[in-house]
Symmetry: C2
């Protein structure tokens, strides 16, 4: 009995401590909320975004998604209000439905993953289906793939990287450190920006193209609250 009372007492102390932390966090959040509230809800002209992480390996718990945390911080710094992050599997129909649902609701939709050379990578297919477009071998991407991979055979798996929706645009970023143009472009279709899933490649592509996403000029500085 005494043991139970002691355990309960320890639990109560823990809960109070957590409640105090929650209080501190909430005060900090309330302070921050004003600026975000203004950019997200009250200002009709706010730049908004959703992030779509595509990958079976993440849903299976094999790989921890770090891309959404990077993009959330980076977009926030640019004054963009991210209103949703969704993680879905590498399935063309699921990707298509999600893109068709989200793209019209936000200024930008950023996807990550599913654009490699194998049959599991169906993000371009999903985006094409969402906008009822066909895939085609983009001449400029075809040349780049040949250049990078030394591929001449159109049946080679690497050529899948050049098969993009008809209305796809190629966005060439600038290396922020050297000021030189990056060699490989980010593909976009309407307001959907199709990033690679490999974190180092995603980060390089984003950092080289910040101007595409920048908001009204208002930038926010983030900090950890726990």
């Amino acid at each position: 009995m005494l043991q139970a009372v002691s355990r309960l007492s320890r639990a109560a102390v823990r809960v109070r401590r957590v409640a105090a932390q929650v209080q501190v966090t909430t005060v900090t959040m309330a302070q921050n909320h004003q600026s975000c509230g203004a950019s997200c809800q009250q200002n009709g002209g706010a730049v908004t975004a959703a992030i779509l992480i595509i990958g079976d390996e993440i849903l299976k718990g094999h790989t921890v998604d770090t891309n959404s945390a990077f993009l959330l911080r980076a977009l926030r710094k640019l004054g963009v209000c991210v209103q949703r992050v969704t993680v879905i599997p590498d399935q063309q129909e699921v990707i298509s439905k999600e893109v068709a649902l989200l793209a019209p609701q936000y200024t930008h939709l950023l996807t990550s993953g599913g654009i490699g050379p194998t049959h599991d990578d169906v993000t371009f297919e999903g985006v094409a289906m969402a906008f009822e477009e066909e895939l085609h071998a983009h001449p400029e991407l075809t040349r780049l793939v040949e250049e990078f991979f030394g591929v001449v055979d159109r049946e080679n798996a690497a050529m899948k990287l050049a098969m993009v929706p008809r209305s796809a645009k190629l966005n060439y970023g600038t290396d922020p450190q050297t000021g030189q143009p990056l060699r490989y472009p980010l593909v976009s279709v309407r307001n959907v920006y199709i990033f690679p899933g490999i974190p180092s490649l995603l980060e390089r592509a984003f950092n080289g193209l910040e101007h595409l996403f920048a908001g009204s000029g208002t930038t926010f500085h983030t900090r950890e609250v726990r």
Copy 2:
């Protein structure tokens, strides 16, 4: 010119190296895919789940979400096929819409966050709205809150923790280490399990209630692929 060629050459090497990594990852994924494919798509009786992370602080990039990675690994080990993770803000209408959309599609819907004592915490309100239920002061939760917080005033903010949808159930877990019952229950409404956002509390609640989510007896062992 020579510099450009050299840069291009280095870039090509990097791309080939990445492509090789993609290849390795993909082979591993393909090997894993068979088991997950079987549990997720082909087996109609598979236990499925979606995870809903609720929190402005995550969307703003102030706090990195680690709860979804924990739940993905833990559910996978129990043989549960998680098909979606979504992060949304602390807004009652958004929570309500998302719960109403997701709950009917999966065996379980696990939410995290938004159940603290402040006005920002509206997860119980959102879940109640999704199922067209009212909130009420649950007698057992009221007693627990009084016990833990020493509260007698019903107007006290902590009492918000006891205001749950009418059909809410209280699930008391077992501490896996001591075998003793945990003192504070996990609240569920139909197939929606409403976890706290604080990682240590979420993990303790989940670990104490694994049997609620366990699949058909098939368990999977996860490992990192990068």
